[in-house]
Amino acid sequence: MLKIKDLRVEIEGKEIIKGLSLEINKGEVHAIMGPNGAGKSTLSAVIAGRDEYEVTGGSIEFEGKDIMDMAPEDRAHAGVFLSFQYPVEIPGVSVTNFIKTALNESRKARDLDPMPAKDMLKLMREKQALLEMDKQFMSRSLNEGFSGGEKKRNEIFQMAMLDPKLAILDETDSGLDIDALRIVANGVNKLKNEDNAVMIITHYQRLLDHIIPDFVHVLYDGKIVKSGDKNLAIELEEKGYDWIKKEIEA
């Protein structure tokens, strides 16, 4: 599904990603872990198409297609979803209005008519229940005055509505209390199937207790330095990143 080859990325002349390769197939859950500044969030932004980063080498293929020159909205239409670490506020635009616009723009890209209001409402109710969101939530301004947990739940709600092929969860666990973590993880698990894939970016093991990864990669200084299964995450949690650093430097 996603094939990244020897990716190199700079921002303002500084190289952040230094030759990264990664392959994610459908049905898989990958966790990317690593210390602060390793390039985790950069990686997710580049896959989603943020243009402030300069890609200086390598390639990203999604579903067999080079997506490097595609606009972020086109990548979204192709099935890439990014759950933001810091979702932005859009005052005056309700959660309902926003997701309706997003969904219908994606449908338009596929030459479909806007979803009939009745179907939209039904779908929203269903996904709302999945994320244990109350009704009032839907009419609030997008992310304005939301708690950390509400923001992340809203991200996963949007993911549920848009039904992407690849979901990138960028530190979705940060700022979540235990209950919210459970709800969010539960939501992701229910959405997970054989045809889609999830890439989880995180510092900690705790989200991975709920969403079990098939692969764990350690990102350090712009490169994947170690890959393994879920046990690697547990090992990291116990030993910390210094252990990896030492291994590399040795």
Binding site: G49, P72, A76, P91, G92, N97, L103, Q158
Partner: protein, 480 residues
Amino acid sequence: MTEEDKLLEEVTSAEYKYGFVTDIESDTIKNGLNEDVIRLISSKKNEPEWLLEWRLEGLKKFQQLVEPEWANVHYKKPDLQSISYYSAPKAKKTLNSLDEVDPELLKTFEKLGISLDEQKMLTGVAVDIIVDSVSVATSFKEKLGELGIIFCSISEAIQEHPELVRKYLGTVVPQSDNYYAALNSAVFTDGSFCYIPKGTRCPMELSTYFRINQAGTGQFERTLLIADKGSYVSYLEGCTAPSRDENQLHAAVVELIAMDEAEIKYSTVQNWYPGNKEGVGGVFNFVTKRGICHESAKISWTQVETGSAVTWKYPSCILKGDNSIGEFFSVAVTNNFQQADTGTKMIHIGKNTKSTIISKGIAAGESNSSYRGLVKIMKGAENARNFSQCDSLLMGDKSGSHTFPYIEVKNKTARIEHEATTSKIGEDQLFYCNQRGISTDAAIGLIVNGYCKDVLNQLPMEFAVEAQKLLSLSLEGSVG
């Protein structure tokens, strides 16, 4: 040149193509402004003597005034002596079907969601639709007539209801009020008149739209609206369809009179030709709008301004009666080289008077948007309250936004709040929308409409939907 600009240009030149009717009478009136011209206008319109005197008074005041320069706008002053102040109604060429209309214009209509019938009206397609619209307007008038509501052109009102016009004309905006108001007083030929009798709730939104075939937009419009005691009216002015006019200068005057316990809701959507992308051409819109509230009366101004090259406009409320309420809700969008200096004046005279000001300025391209507002609390205005919120949204790095709030308080019991913010549409917001599959243009539409929600909510439902589309359309392609 974008399609939009091409369209604008084509349409403007197309209007010229349809041309003026060469009228011997209008040929006999030389350009320029003088007493003879005023006398001629008045006699052509068969006006009573008092109105002629009133116009001449206006001319005299006008000649004593100088063009104001305090507004934060820059333009080449129009040469008022090169204007012909009276010409017979311009006959537009009538078309046989919409197929003859510029397809680009139709595309814009479609984007705005304007119905087929309205499209035909706007483009001057002369088929049954016009007949229909006349009949609609007629039945509409009959219904209003039953309630004693008068809604007609100001010229008609001068003939049919001279006592009402005489009693109220110029009582809120006197001839000497300002340069352009004085000019308007001397030369106005078009406009609307509306009277709502005591205790009557006007059952429908009154719209100048219904008169669109009877009188086009005049250069010097005069509107007089009187809501008698305990009555209510919602009045809509303008429409979202792009309107073009060969007249560069527009100087309208609107006077509202809300008697005791009456309520007037006055909504405007203004979408006049803003000039092309290089800032050439476009309408100068210098308008004086003011209302007076008697005891426990309420006036709400709501405006969505997207057009004109230069806008100079301050819909105001004189809160004369105790417990009266004034409101001003405004969205002003400027793009390319447009300039807008707009805001309001709230003059608190009566006790326990309240005013609310919500202004949203959006500046894109190389445009400039200014909010200018005065809140004045007079000595006798015990317990007056005002709340003002002035927000500016900037797009790109070449646009400008300015806020000029004036506050004059002569009574210690006044409570005044003023909030102001300036923000930009952030890259983060756009990327977030893009990531959800929303294109940049659609994202701007969404963000701007969210930003203006408090104002748009004040508009009557159908108007609000059109206005939302208009906002998105006005800012298409302004980022990235």
